[in-house]
Symmetry: D2
Subunit: 304 residues, 4 copies
């Protein structure tokens, strides 16, 4: 398989379709991004990197970082964690508080905001300097000092963070939150404000295509079983309220962010990151979703 | 891989664990079944059949038949169908009517009751004798005249069918129902009352492990892309409110029924059917779920 | 107090305001009514009748008949009834099925559709010919043979009755329904299709202004305590999802119907019926609501 | 009417019934109260005070203070206020956050927690020293320097205030909150921690029985129309998820608090306060509710 040719074809075809969406505008720093950017990077199991378009340009990875933070506590808090957060897809929007009320403070899964806050809270219990630890961890996975926290995005997230703050207090009212709320939110807004290129992001997801072993970190990051479970979670819960549609059309485990990025893996084949800022109404990048759909069609394989 | 040895090991280990659940009791005909029965059948891509325990004993496949009926209309009504039923996992119980109200008569997916009723309605539009067609189709997939409709179960389903009738009228009020309600319900209750053995059920699912081609029917039942999509749907929506948990622990596309059966596939490897009547509180067979978890652990592969 | 002058003033002022709404269009027979009609009738405790505008023209009373049917079983089934239907306002639309699911088949109150169906079911248990009984009862309350069931409306209600049928089956699935569904629905659609003029309607509500004693029937229809409770229910639940607003602005117990009618009482003073077909978005007559608001302002008294 | 004899009879009969409930335990300061206390005070339109039992003993009025704070802004912000908070009864618990999500940040009414927080926020916009203003206002209404803020209760409310804090941040995320959250919560927890006796509480509600005129303050506190509207709101929304039941059985506008107090009015007759700490499962005092039911039965009048 010539991956470079493949992603170039996909890139051309998606560009030709001239798809339109809407850049996320909940904070100005995200809203002001040039909407026409589009990049794809693919990393195979040997560590070869293939790229096209804006694949080397850093962008705000936003919720994609929730896969990294989950991995950091999955490793250690394995069983305890799953009493604090469920693994079921949510039929509701990613920042819904209603479901949290009906289910008595146990978030549906670690990728909706409430669940990711529980994960970040667990990280704050585990590490003295959680932000540094997250940065170091992702750098290690990517085999490069690549992660930068954008201070404007971070501050802006915080200034528009009422809803996440409400979720944190609500979790605390159910005793599902152990650390000071401001501290955890700081870490949360920091990791949502991280910037990486498609290349580095795809590299940082490589271990999930490889049964938990990262060739860039040169170590087993998760056991095979844990790695499979992270992939299962991404498949059922990685695309907000569109997870079923993505599984149906694309069939790869992946995670999207409102910055327009999507990172996905084809187990035992490759990891891939696609980025383009314009989103569909469910909050997923129109071009990234379409690119992955074309890619799996051309490869004639998906998970299924 | 020696599949016969594998399933025997799994069978022994599950029996040793002595798991307990509760036989479904919404109709007496299901409730009176001997709870200790347990069988496993596995069919590889060459059509070899492996079995252990009560694998040749017919049981009520119930909702597993929804995969067969979906396949029958998937083929033909492809795009139209997806305007009538969504492909997203449901956070609510399988027979919930609330979600149908919030989402204005479009069921969340074809495996919750409301969605399956839409599928059966589509079947009634397509065929003059839909029950015969379903029976013939499953027999063809299994390569044997094996399907029997249990008349006591069928009548009992009908006599306890107020909730499904309510769903049908509710769908009709949203104009998402085209045929006479009684007619469609008769077909629905008939295919829920079908009985098959694990062996025949695993054979009837074989095409989903084989990119849509059935070696028993000797024809392409679904295109590769359609077949992948049915698998994606089973993975995200096949286990009621426990789909995420099953994907997380087992990682195979599958479908369960309240009769205690589960049919699943490992794409490009095998199809499998497991049956044991006692259910967990989410309505899935405790022994069947556990057997599939052990099996994928032993094989050290899942989808992910 | 010169009631005739009062209602004429109110009539003029409302007409001058030229309020607009939308005639109910769920069935053609209701949708085709002349939207400009407007009438008011007031009946004092001595039985004097005051009227203005189209106060003698029969119109479809629709849900207002639910007060009459409730009265018929209140009298007899008193305590039993309240285990089958609650007395709390509903935050949801009148025909919502979701709330019925959350509250396990016990409707929130007797004026939402699900609750009214339970009342009609109780009537069918009590009387051999319930439709005749309802007609006779309302005629008796109005002191005149005035009630007519419009056959076109009745048939049309039935032909568009999928949602109410769904509610009935749903109630039955919770064992909160005792009679054959078709039979009860026939009675339900019949009493919703009843036609009366404002004058007769106001007379039929007179007993609720008079501690349960009807001067037209010349008998105690409800005890004082029961009569107060029907009024309390109308105040908290009589205007669909606008009950609070009506209590806030008008402050009288009353019941509205999608035909554009409103019947209300000022306890120990008078009963009143207002009719005009155009509805606001909550399904209540814009002119009738406004007329009652002006009336209580001018009288400088309400319940409170 | 000999009110003294009346409330003594009611007091005796309720005591004889030996009703049991459960003292609120969400904060220790409320939970440790002697559960057997029980007092009634009634104030007629001339200002005569009648009392029985623990009617002079101060208790935590909790949510009853929401009527006072609403009155303070009703007067001034009249129309603006009703774009920020609705007047409809809520089918959900008083501290539900789900409904706030469905209704996009507009609380259902000013007596559920979310609505009361909006009211307190409006107070903070209006006054520089809102706590002093509230205290002064209630003292004026009661014609006595009677209000004391219990510092232990206030601190404890704050320490257990995660859910109210979540509500405040959630309101802010919908731009329905104007002042710093900590500031508003301080005021909120302060007025919930106020202590008064039944006598002073009944006096402070007297203006609502008197078309807005307080004989103790010797001034018009609300216009007649405003006063009627506060009463309407209490009737439809004053008893959490039991408002319909209270209207049905008692038929008086009133407001309850988790401290076990209930204040109510019979317009143009009297105001009344009843207190006893044990609550039913809906959070209303069992003895207070029963006392008011007996009282209206004996008087043979209610609103209706």
């Amino acid at each position: 398989m010539d991956y470079q040719q493949l992603i170039e074809e996909v890139y051309q075809e998606v560009q030709a379709e001239n798809l339109k969406g809407k850049v996320a505008d909940y904070i100005p720093e995200i809203g002001n991004v040039n909407p026409d950017q589009f990049g794809i990077a693919l990393v195979d199991l040997k560590g070869n990197v293939y790229g096209v378009g804006d694949h080397q340009k850093p962008f705000s990875i936003q919720s994609i970082s929730k896969v990294h933070t989950l991995t950091m506590v999955f490793n250690v808090f394995n069983s305890k964690l799953w009493s604090r957060v469920n693994v079921e897809p949510s039929g509701d929007p990613f920042n819904s508080i209603a479901q949290l009320e009906y289910e008595k403070g146990i978030p549906r899964n670690p990728f909706i905001n409430a669940g990711a806050l529980v994960i970040t809270d667990a990280l704050c219990s585990k590490f003295e300097h959680p932000i540094n630890e997250i940065t170091d961890f992702i750098n290690e996975l990517a085999g490069a000092t690549c992660v930068k926290i954008n201070p404007e995005v971070q501050i802006s997230e915080k200034n528009h963070g009422e809803r996440n703050t409400a979720l944190a207090y609500f979790l605390k009212s159910f005793k599902n939150f152990n650390n000071p709320i401001d501290e955890v939110l700081d870490v949360y807004f920091s990791h949502c404000a991280m910037e990486m290129s498609c290349v580095d992001l795809a590299k940082s997801f490589s271990f999930l295509a490889n049964d938990g072993y990262s060739i860039f970190a040169d170590r087993l990051v998760l056991t095979e079983s844990q790695s499979r479970r992270v992939n299962a979670l991404m498949l059922t819960c990685g695309f907000y309220d569109e997870a079923g549609e993505f599984a149906f059309k694309v069939g790869l485990p992946g995670k999207s962010g409102v910055g327009g990025g999507v990172a996905a893996v084809m187990p035992h084949k490759f990891s891939i990151a696609v980025w383009s800022p314009e989103l569909n109404e469910k909050g997923n990048s129109v071009k990234a979703i379409r690119a992955l759909e074309l890619l799996t069609d051309k490869l004639a394989f998906s998970l299924f």
